[in-house]
C-alpha cells in the first residue's frame, strides 16, 4: 500500500528514535576525527607555508623564528609576471596536454590488445612495457640529447611532448588495461551478436563504458607530465621552456629569493593541485586501477 505522505504518527516516532540515537556520537569516532584532522593539516602545512610565503616581503621569508603574521603583499607575484611567466605556462600546458592526448590514443588499442583481444603471452608484454619505465630519466638523457641535437629538435616543445608520451605510455597501458578487464564480458558479447564490428564495438560500447577510467588515466599522466623536471630542464632552453625551467631560473648565483621563489612555486604547482582536488574521484580510481583484479 503506497502512502503519499507519512502519517504524522510515524513521523513523530521516527523523530523520537532519531533523537535517542543521534545523541551518541561514539567517542571513538571523535578521536579518529581529531587524529585525522591533525595529520591532514600536518601533511598540508608545507604547501600552506609555501603559499603564504609567496605573499611576504623577502625579508619576512626567512626569519628566526618564522614569521607567521604579516601583511600580505602582491610584490612577489608582480615580479613574476614582469618576468613574463605566461610562455612557460603555455609550454607546460602544451607539452602536458599533447602528450596526454597522444598517450590515450596509443595506449587504448594497445591495452585492448593486451586484455580483451588477448594477444598470446600478454603477461610478458605487459611486464615488458613496465620495464621501460624502470629506467631513470637521467640514464637516457645524453642519448636523447645527442639525437635531439642531430635532428635539430632541441628546445622543441613537440619533441618534449613525444618524450613525455613515451614516458607515460607504460603507466597508461597498465591502467587502461585494468579498466578494460573489468568490463562485463556479456556486454561485449551482446555487442558482437548485435553485429558490431571491431571499430564500432570500441567506439560505441567500450569507450563510453571506460570513459571514467580514461579520465583517470589522463589525469594521472597529466600530473606526471606537468611535474616532470629533468627532461624539461635538459631538453629545453628558451622557446620550449616549461614551468620547471622557470623555477630553476630563480636559483641564481645571487642566492635564494625565497619569497619570490615561493610565489613562483605556487604558480607552478597550482594547476595540478586544483585539477587533482576537483577530480579527486578520478585520481583515486586511477591509482587503484587493476588492484581489484
Amino acid at each position: 500500500m503506497a502512502v503519499a505522505t507519512t502519517p504524522p504518527i510515524t513521523a513523530e516516532r521516527a523523530a523520537a528514535a532519531r533523537r535517542r540515537r543521534g545523541g551518541k556520537v561514539s567517542g571513538g569516532t571523535v578521536a579518529i576525527g581529531i587524529v585525522a584532522w591533525v595529520v591532514g593539516l600536518l601533511f598540508f602545512s608545507p604547501v600552506l607555508w609555501m603559499f603564504l610565503t609567496g605573499f611576504k616581503q623577502e625579508s619576512q621569508a626567512s626569519t628566526d623564528p618564522p614569521t607567521f603574521f604579516f601583511t600580505p603583499t602582491l610584490d612577489q607575484y608582480r615580479a613574476i609576471f614582469d618576468r613574463d611567466f605566461a610562455p612557460y605556462f603555455i609550454n607546460s600546458a602544451t607539452a602536458s596536454i599533447v602528450s596526454v592526448v597522444l598517450v590515450i590514443i596509443l595506449a587504448t588499442p594497445a591495452a585492448y590488445a593486451l586484455s580483451i583481444a588477448r594477444v598470446a603471452k600478454w603477461r610478458d608484454g605487459l611486464f615488458f612495457f613496465m620495464s621501460t619505465r624502470m629506467m631513470p630519466a637521467v640514464a637516457s638523457i645524453l642519448p636523447l640529447y645527442i639525437i635531439a641535437k642531430n635532428i635539430r629538435m632541441l628546445d622543441n616543445i613537440w619533441f618534449l611532448s613525444l618524450v613525455y608520451t613515451a614516458m607515460n605510455l607504460p603507466i597508461a597501458v597498465w591502467m587502461i588495461r585494468s579498466f578494460l578487464i573489468e568490463l562485463p564480458k556479456e556486454v561485449l558479447e551482446a555487442a558482437r551478436v548485435d553485429g558490431a564490428k571491431l571499430f564500432t564495438e570500441m567506439r560505441r560500447v567500450i569507450l563510453p563504458m571506460i570513459a571514467p577510467g580514461l579520465a583517470a588515466t589522463a589525469l594521472i599522466c597529466f600530473i606526471f607530465a606537468w611535474n616532470e623536471f629533468f627532461f624539461a630542464v635538459s631538453l629545453t632552453a628558451t622557446k620550449a621552456a616549461t614551468v620547471p625551467v622557470f623555477l630553476v631560473g630563480f636559483i641564481t648565483s645571487e642566492g635564494l629569493f625565497w619569497a619570490r621563489l615561493s610565489a613562483a612555486s605556487t604558480m607552478a604547482v597550482l594547476p595540478v593541485i586544483i585539477a587533482g582536488w576537483i577530480a579527486q574521484k578520478w585520481l583515486v580510481r586511477g591509482l587503484s586501477l587493476g588492484a581489484v583484479k
Binding site: 500500500m1 507519512t6 513521523a11 516516532r13 521516527a14 528514535a17 540515537r21
Partner: protein, 366 residues
C-alpha cells in the same frame, strides 16, 4: 532456555520516517523453527538483522532467553548466522572458516578440531576441510556456511535466505535437510525467506510480514485454513487463492448469477462493517466443477496441464470485469477431463471453504 522475543521492536530506515519494521512482537519458543516470510521490502531481513545486532533497534526490545540483548553487539548475543551470500572468508580453508569463531572465543585447539570434525561429519563436508571456498560448488559452500554456524553451538540460529542462491532441485533437497538438522540439534532457529513454499514446509510457525508489519504468526496449517487477512490469504498457497470483491445481497454474496450464502458470523461482521460488498476468497482446490444450474458460469480462458493436476483459468459470466483480458478465477480440475478453451463450465465453491474479508480493511470476517 533459548527463547527469542521481539517486543514491539521497530526500526526506521536511516534518514527516513518510514519504518522498515513496525512494532514487531513475536515470541519464539525454545527449539522452535520460526520462519519470517514476506515479499521484498517487507522488513523480514531487517527484523532478522535486528535480532543479530547488525541493525539498530529504534523502538522496543529484543530478548534472547531472559537476557535483554537490544543494545548488545553481535558477538555478545551467542547467536550464529547463515548469510544469503554465505559470506565465507575467501582466504581461509573450510576448516579455518568453521574454526574462526571458536578461535575468537578462545576454545582450545583440540576441542576446536573435534567440534569442526563433528559438524563436518553431520553436513558431509569432511572431504573439503582443506579446500578454499573458491574451489567449492554453490551447494558445498552453502553447507560450509551452515557448518560455520552449527560448530558454535549457539543459543539461536539465524538464517537469511540461505537457499536463494541454489538451483531449484537442490533447494528442495537442502530444505528438508535443514529442517531435519534443526530438529536433531533442537536449537531455536529464526529463518527468513521470500518463498512461501519454503516457509510452509520448514516452519513450526510462520510469521508473515508486509511493509514492516506482522500480518499473522501461526502454524502453516492455520495460515492456510484461517488466514487473518486478505494479504496472508493471497500470499500463502500456490496457486494463489482467488480473492475478489462481490456484491452482497440479502446476506448472500452474488457470484455471477448465483448466490453464495454467507455464514451468520460473516453477515454480522459485514453489517458492523457497514457495506454491501464482500471480499471473498476461495482456493482453487475448493472449487468443484458442477453441472448447469448448480453453480456459476465461467468462460474458460486457459488450461494449464501439469501432469498430476490441471488448472483452469476463466472469467465469471455476469460479474463485473475490471480488466478485460485477465482471468478472474483459477480452479483445479481433473487432468483427465479438461474443458476446452472458450467453453462454459459451471463452478461451485464448496460450502464452508470460502473466506470472507472486509473490502475496507482486508481483515477476516467471522
Amino acid at each position: 532456555m533459548a527463547t527469542v522475543t521481539y517486543d514491539e521492536a521497530s526500526r526506521f530506515y536511516p534518514g527516513s520516517d518510514i519504518p522498515a519494521v513496525d512494532r514487531l512482537s513475536i515470541d519464539v519458543a525454545d527449539a522452535e523453527f520460526l520462519v519470517l516470510v514476506g515479499p521484498s521490502g517487507s522488513g523480514k531481513s531487517t527484523a532478522l538483522r535486528m535480532l543479530a545486532g547488525l541493525e539498530d533497534v529504534d523502538e522496543g526490545r529484543i530478548r534472547i532467553g531472559e537476557r535483554d540483548v537490544t543494545s548488545l553487539p553481535p558477538r555478545d548475543r551467542d547467536i550464529a548466522m547463515v548469510f544469503q551470500s554465505y559470506a565465507l572468508y575467501p582466504h581461509m580453508t573450510v576448516a579455518q572458516n568453521m574454526g574462526f569463531a571458536l578461535e575468537q572465543a578462545k576454545v582450545p585447539k583440540d576441542q576446536r578440531a573435534k567440534r569442526i570434525r563433528d559438524a563436518a561429519k553431520i553436513l558431509d563436508i569432511e572431504p573439503f576441510l582443506d579446500r578454499k571456498p573458491k574451489a567449492l560448488s554453490g551447494g558445498q559452500r552453502q553447507r560450509v556456511a551452515m557448518g560455520r554456524a552449527i560448530v558454535r553451538e549457539p543459543q539461536v540460529f539465524l538464517m537469511d535466505e540461505p537457499l536463494s542462491n541454489l538451483d531449484a532441485k537442490l533447494r528442495v533437497s537442502t530444505r528438508s535437510q535443514i529442517a531435519a538438522l534443526q530438529k536433531r540439534l533442537a536449537v531455536t532457529t529464526v529463518y527468513v525467506t521470500h518463498d512461501q513454499v519454503e516457509a510452509m514446509t520448514m516452519g513450526d510457525r510462520v510469521a508473515v510480514l508486509r511493509d514492516g508489519m506482522l500480518q499473522q504468526c501461526a502454524t502453516p496449517l492455520e495460515l492456510y485454513q484461517r488466514p487473518a487477512n486478505a494479504f496472508v490469504a493471497g500470499f500463502i498457497g500456490s496457486p494463489a487463492m482467488n480473492i475478489r470483491e462481490f456484491p452482497v445481497v440479502d446476506g448472500k454474496a452474488r457470484i455471477g448469477e448465483v448466490d453464495l450464502p454467507l455464514s451468520r458470523e460473516e453477515v454480522q461482521a459485514l453489517a458492523r462493517d457497514g457495506g454491501d460488498r464482500v471480499l471473498l476468497g476461495f482456493r482453487p482446490e475448493s472449487v468443484d466443477l458442477v453441472s448447469r444450474g448448480e453453480g456459476f458460469a465461467v468462460e474458460v480462458r486457459l488450461v494449464e496441464e501439469l501432469g498430476a493436476d490441471a488448472y483452469l483459468h476463466g472469467k465469471i459470466v455476469g460479474a463485473e470485469h475490471a480488466e478485460a483480458d485477465v482471468a478472474d478465477i483459477v480452479t483445479r480440475v481433473d487432468p483427465a477431463r479438461t474443458p476446452g478453451i472458450g467453453s462454459i463450465v459451471y463452478l461451485r465453491v464448496r460450502p464452508g471453504k470460502e473466506h470472507a474479508f472486509s473490502p475496507k480493511t482486508g481483515l477476516r470476517l467471522g
